[in-house]
Subunit: 297 residues, 4 copies
């Protein structure tokens, strides 16, 4: 049994809803300062989740949702003024409008299951994002993607053309999308690419990390004789399969399941785990600290 995928709160009236994420060294008075600031600017806090690591000398994290009449017009001023509060506490922070959907580029190779789940959830209105484009090193899924009215870019990748292919990819996505989703994209992303999207590239790895890093994790799992398999969604860093974990889930298997069975079962886990992680990311529910995540859900 697993946490649900559902974005919380009614979705009809998000025009004046904002989401604030804050992290800073802990000290007394942070909640008071933030909530007083919002109150004095006539914002109404509708949801608030807060977490402190080790009260004495640790880190403080908070996620707030608030409503503010006429948000669109007032947001810039609000941010300018909040910067003063933030400075005082050495905060890293963002304020995003809930009504402005994040733009995603989905990278995919030949397997369609993780992509399909995202497309369905998007079409059903469950994924609060705009899928700006799909980029693939193969042409196989063009028909599927275009049937959803989404642009499909085929950028082949070979050992020789890798650098050039990446330049083409970057041209398509830099300043054009908010995040990149690797929905079973079977190519290594270069450090340079990662730099452009630090903590904004989400990958699905088809094992319960850190078990079975690298290639053929289902074969590895079969050979080890595990009784449960899993999938892991994580932000991509330079260390292969080593970035901050956003979400994991698992399913029971048995001696009756061969490698093909594990793959088939695993596909269902992968698509659910990736969809959850992407939802949480686009709803500003994830803060990265070091190599870990705080997920407010």
């Amino acid at each position: 049994m697993t946490p649900n995928i559902a974005p919380k709160g009614s979705r009809s009236e998000l025009r004046n809803r904002a989401r604030m994420l804050v992290s800073c060294p802990d000290q007394p008075g942070i909640v008071a300062a933030v909530s007083r600031f919002l109150f004095e600017h006539e914002a109404n806090i509708v949801q608030s989740d807060q977490y402190t690591i080790d009260p004495e000398g640790g880190m403080f994290y908070i996620r707030l949702e608030f409503d503010l009449d006429n948000l669109d017009a007032r947001r810039d001023q609000l941010k300018t003024e909040f910067a003063k509060v933030a400075d005082r506490f050495s905060m890293e922070w963002t304020i995003n409008r809930a009504g402005r959907k994040k733009r995603l580029a989905i990278f995919v190779s030949k397997e369609d299951h993780a992509l399909l789940e995202l497309l369905w959830q998007w079409q059903a209105g469950d994924l609060e994002a705009e899928i700006a484009m799909v980029i693939s090193n193969h042409n196989d899924l063009r028909g599927l993607v275009e049937s959803f009215g989404i642009p499909y870019h085929h950028i082949p990748v070979t050992a020789d053309t890798k650098a050039e292919a990446e330049r083409s990819q970057l041209e398509l996505v830099v300043d054009k999308v908010d995040a990149v989703v690797l929905a079973r994209y079977m190519q290594i992303i270069s450090p340079k690419f990662i730099e452009h999207f630090a903590n904004r590239i989400i990958n699905i790895h088809h094992s319960f990390l850190p078990a079975f890093v690298g290639g053929k994790p289902y074969a590895q799992a079969y050979n080890r004789g595990v009784k449960i398999i899993g999938a892991t969604a994580h932000y991509v860093t330079e260390e292969l399969d080593g970035g901050p974990i956003i979400e994991q889930d698992v399913q029971r298997v048995s001696h009756r399941d061969n490698v093909d069975d594990l793959k088939r079962i695993g596909r269902h886990i992968e698509r659910i785990v990736l969809a959850r992680a992407v939802s949480w990311h686009v709803e500003d529910r994830v803060i990265v600290h070091g190599n870990k995540t705080v997920v407010f859900n």
Copy 2:
């Protein structure tokens, strides 16, 4: 964590694979008689699951998979000869070829999630069935269904036309499909229709039965304040939401989830549970006894 959906065993070489389901009053010697029969007919048992309720005077159930060279040509004779064994033990039994996919008619109204999951699993080769047609009382999902190359029949149903609509439905399905799947079909099926497909109509109910029988189960669940919601796939009988349960699954919810959230979360449970139940049915894994099921998985 839940049992997997995966059909067991390799699927590439099913041409000579048969599946035998047997139920009868328990008595000594049944396994010996069946397995000796198969051995003497040169069949090789590759899987066998057996279950006895109350050894003394109870019921005996077995599911066998066996390989037999040239199965297609020899199946009729095999069945003729097995009938003698079956008579001796008062068996109810079936022998189906694994290579012959069951034909399904899917009934649907306006919601697409349960249907989509079946179509996707079918397309991915995970659902060992032939989807012969989709029948709907609305026209909304025609484009989707036809994009999979599957015939779509729009048969509107009103209070006045119910009987006539059912005649049209029966004409399409009787002797043409092996089973009917109600993938969120929001009409009551008549006793007459059920009679044609006894224990061959699978419905998905959007609650953890027997909790929240009838309409608006998510609203009922919300009002009761449950911490877990579920879905139930069952064979349809004359008693509303009262037929033999094939599969159930659940997901944790919290006070934060409103009725819309429960519906959204529930959709994910419904589609998984229905797909599992349909898979088990078409793979001859389910025996109905009284108002319950034996599921060999």
Copy 3:
């Protein structure tokens, strides 16, 4: 997979930690007012969870943990002064010291599993409570309970002596314990008793409510052929098995499990679910609203 039972936060240094629970009609400025109050009184908020039903005209709930030097000496004054803030917002509220363990009376009949789990978790330091006494209508578990150094009161209950027995029970518990836990106590609690401990009596019911209300739920579950069984911890109200649900959990069963198997499997669910609910109650994580609970965990 289920939420964990663990009390959050370090437990070593709780002397100056307080827990505040607040519910009131929602309006702008509540978080600001509360957090400002705490800041001005030199309290440091270390954890905060908040939840609003329907921002416009709904209800507001918050749970805060804060540290305050010299809490013991300053708590009364803090409460006196907070009352003014509370009045302004029509709040219902409590401020409890984390360091002051709640006192529990556990009621039990003959089955020991739910009791044992509580005793073990208490002994292991996982249950932040003081088990003040065990009261039973039988004498069977005296040895066990007394081996933990806990007083055991045997108060037999028959149809004739029910009223008198209850008087004896009330004499033992009123003003002596903070909450009553029914750990498989097989007697109905009277409305009068309930009145003394409104939303402070926790019962474990051995089914996934609202399925299988009343007696012999495992037999009911067996007869219905469910594929999953559960247990439910809830506050006791006058309606049998109808009070606000605190926690539920479930486990998969199959056709192979007879009623005795369900009971055995169910015992494991019951003890876990009850222990979780009691933990959350004693850690001030539960707010009752209407017939439902908000659980901050």
Copy 4:
């Protein structure tokens, strides 16, 4: 949600019940030969689970439960005669009486949770074994163990006395118990000891293997930021934490859980997973093949 711990089938009348485990290279006719043998010897098969890896040229595994009048007197002859069938198919096989409980030695250090769960399930009649003794390198748990009427042997282990300690242990257990359970025993078992109990030493490792092999797995899990933790019961081999996995289970955690929380949550997983694995072992449900297990449950 997890498979249940419960031994299947009624437990009252096991006097004439036997359990047969068979593994051999697959070939046609094995089920027929075994079931015919049992039928001709007047045994009634009440349960049968069979599994074949790769029908062509693979391995065949079967577990049978059968009833035979006067089992005790006839068992030796039955085994002598079955040996002929077994030879023909190169079988490895056992036939055990269900009524003869296996004798266990439990090894433990200072932590009591895994031990306690076994003692409690044993006392409740859920663990079909005889706990012959507890052996510990510390004296801490003597009182607890002896309160259950079970002999407690304190055998201290230091770097200097390790070999001698092991001699004392072996003297206590060889030919005296059927299996050894390491219920959080914090010493490495020597190859020589393992040799005496090949595939009969069950250890609980406090991580989801193969993640976090070795020491301090909860600290490792915390540092990696996993969202799910687990425990693994496995047979002990010479490779540390590398033996055949019998059972695993997991629980969701979050960023709020520190290392102490993980330990506390993990204790609950460990005790459940170990109890399940031990139950399955003593009920002859586990066959080891290579470095993996077939578990018939």
